[in-house]
């Protein structure tokens, strides 16, 4: 049944550091690379070398410009994938039971042999974390690399999601967010990690670390600084005439 488990033993998820992400899209590529070759149907592309390329991705990096009140604008790169919500609305809407949340670790997965491709789960997700594969006709989503994290054929350092393993900036962290003593939980507590769209009531497991405050000028201003103020506030002579003439037009 596509009921959600009341609790999960662990809450595996990602912590994404918006202060550190440089927007290189390496996580996007490594995710696509691993997940097109391993668990489930490949992530297909349509017209990849043509005029109108598009394809299935489980992880995408947006970029946002934020304009503080009295400071220069900031550019923030923003990776987004499934947040493995505790109250995942994508699970309960599924008519076939293909969409489910695991009791042991909280990972939200799609059983692709049961998926009819109705798309309702993608509609129920506020984050755009699910994409219907145009070639396979089934719903694809982040598996938290379930085929890596428990894979004893891989060296131990590789038993993390592909996006985390590949991130050159160290902006992505993987762990158990249900354990308050885990490294990721500590990181969230230290940095004030936040939920995306908390008003949707989905209780995401993945957390985002907001950018650290930028430096601001708080020291003493040099006594000579006032002399550097612009002196000619009002134009004079020829410029004043142009100014007046243009005003009249």
């Amino acid at each position: 049944m596509t009921d959600l488990p009341a609790t999960t033993d662990r809450k595996l998820g990602l912590v994404i550091d918006l202060d550190t992400c440089v927007g290189c899209h390496a996580c996007v590529i490594s995710c696509k690379g691993w997940n097109t070759e391993n668990y489930g149907a490949p992530l297909s592309d349509q017209d990849p070398y043509g005029a109108d390329p598009s394809g299935t991705f489980l992880n995408r990096v947006h970029s946002y410009e934020v304009q503080p009140q009295d400071a220069p604008a900031q550019l923030i790169h923003f990776p987004k994938s499934c947040l493995h919500c505790e109250d995942a609305p994508c699970v309960t809407v599924c008519p076939t039971g293909a969409s489910y949340k695991r009791t042991e670790d909280g990972i939200v997965l799609v059983n692709e042999t049961d998926c009819i491709g109705c798309g309702l789960c993608a509609w129920a997700c506020p984050y755009g974390a699910r994409e219907l594969d145009a070639a396979e006709g089934v719903m694809k989503k982040c598996t938290l690399c379930v085929d890596r994290i428990y894979n004893e054929n891989l060296p131990e350092e590789d038993r993390t999601p592909a996006c985390v393993r590949t991130c050159p900036a160290g902006a992505r962290h993987f762990g158990d967010l249900g354990d308050p003593d885990s490294a990721v939980s500590q990181l969230v507590a230290d940095r004030g990690g936040i939920d995306l769209m908390p008003e949707q009531g989905t209780k995401p497991v993945n957390k985002y670390l907001p950018p650290r405050p930028k430096d601001t000028w708080q020291g003493e201003v040099d006594v000579l600084a006032p002399f550097l103020e612009p002196v000619a506030e009002e134009p004079k002579g020829f410029l004043a005439w142009i100014d007046k003439t243009l005003e009249k037009l």
Binding site: F57, Y64, E65, A122, P126, L132, M197
Partner: protein, 290 residues
């Protein structure tokens, strides 16, 4: 939402067909014999045809039967069950009327209730989505019921009842549009809550994650329908309610009645197209509120 023709046809025609079957079910003097056969045939063609059309938008239609399994949690699954229950009960009721001239009132009423329940489950598939604030409101099921009841009454030849109901549907539709236009803003979801960056300042989508399109943009951030939205809304109301009312209030003629019916169906199709085309999904906020 991308207004897929299969979904528009599904909600419109299954609503009309189930509405017609509802009126046949509660009719104290239901038609019998060939007349009953014709009425039920139209009802079943519309209802079954609509439900079949819904399978066309599936990525894997061959697995459609699996949709019956999750009735405990999924409205889509409940709809599948309700549709089968309604069409089965009404099928028995219809067969007795057509072949034996026998009317079992209780069976008709049971079928009628199941027909409305099916329309309700259809509307709940959309109403349950908190991600589309325009749909996430009790008025959405009311609207679907009024459309089904009004269209069904017209189809079953109940002119006065039909006109009253499509008048109510038109009023409800206009109110639903006006209130719906404010619902995304009222939901509290903004690009700032979506990104969590609001604490720093005003946020703007600077660069999308990809140069081309993707499933999300095609499916949920459909913007073409918004350009002429207001004009299309007026046209839908005229076709759905005003024109049928004028035609049916003229001296009665079967030809005028057929034109009135076709006009009503065209209006419902257009309003359903707008229902999907103007749905504003919160995922659009990640793409700069497109």
């Amino acid at each position: 939402m991308h207004p897929a023709p299969s979904i528009i046809a599904f909600t419109t025609f299954s609503g009309l067909g189930l509405g017609l079957l509802f009126w046949l079910g509660i009719d104290p003097t239901a038609p019998t014999g060939w007349v009953a056969f014709a009425f039920f045939l139209i009802g079943y063609l519309l209802a079954v045809g609509g439900l079949m059309a819904s399978a066309l938008h599936l990525g894997r239609p061959e697995r459609a039967l699996k949709a019956f399994t999750q009735w405990r949690s999924s409205w889509l699954s409940r709809e599948a069950w309700m549709a089968v229950a309604a069409l089965s009960v009404m099928g028995i009721y219809a067969a007795l009327l057509v072949f034996l001239d026998l009317q079992i009132t209780v069976l008709g009423w049971l079928g009628a209730v199941l027909c409305l329940a099916t329309v309700f489950t259809t509307s709940m598939i959309y109403t349950q989505l908190k991600t589309v604030p325009r749909w996430y409101h009790w008025s959405t099921p009311v609207l679907f019921q009024l459309y089904a009841l009004g269209g069904g009454a017209l189809l079953s030849g109940r002119v006065t009842t039909g006109l009253v109901l499509i008048g109510l549907a038109a009023l409800a539709q206009a109110g639903w549009w006006l209130a719906g236009d404010r619902r995304l803003a009222a939901s509290g979801s903004t690009i700032e809550t979506a990104t969590g960056l609001g604490a720093i300042g005003k946020t703007r989508a600077f660069e999308p994650p990809h140069t081309g399109s993707n499933y999300l943009l095609r499916e949920m951030v459909f913007v073409v329908g918004r350009k002429h939205g207001q004009k299309l809304r007026l046209i839908a109301l005229v076709l759905m309610a005003v024109l049928p009312a004028v035609l049916l209030l003229l001296p009665f003629g079967h030809l005028l009645a057929v034109v009135a019916l076709l006009s009503h169906v065209a209006g419902v199709l257009l309003s359903r197209w707008l229902f999907f085309a103007q749905a504003e999904h919160v995922v659009g906020l990640y793409y700069g509120n497109r």
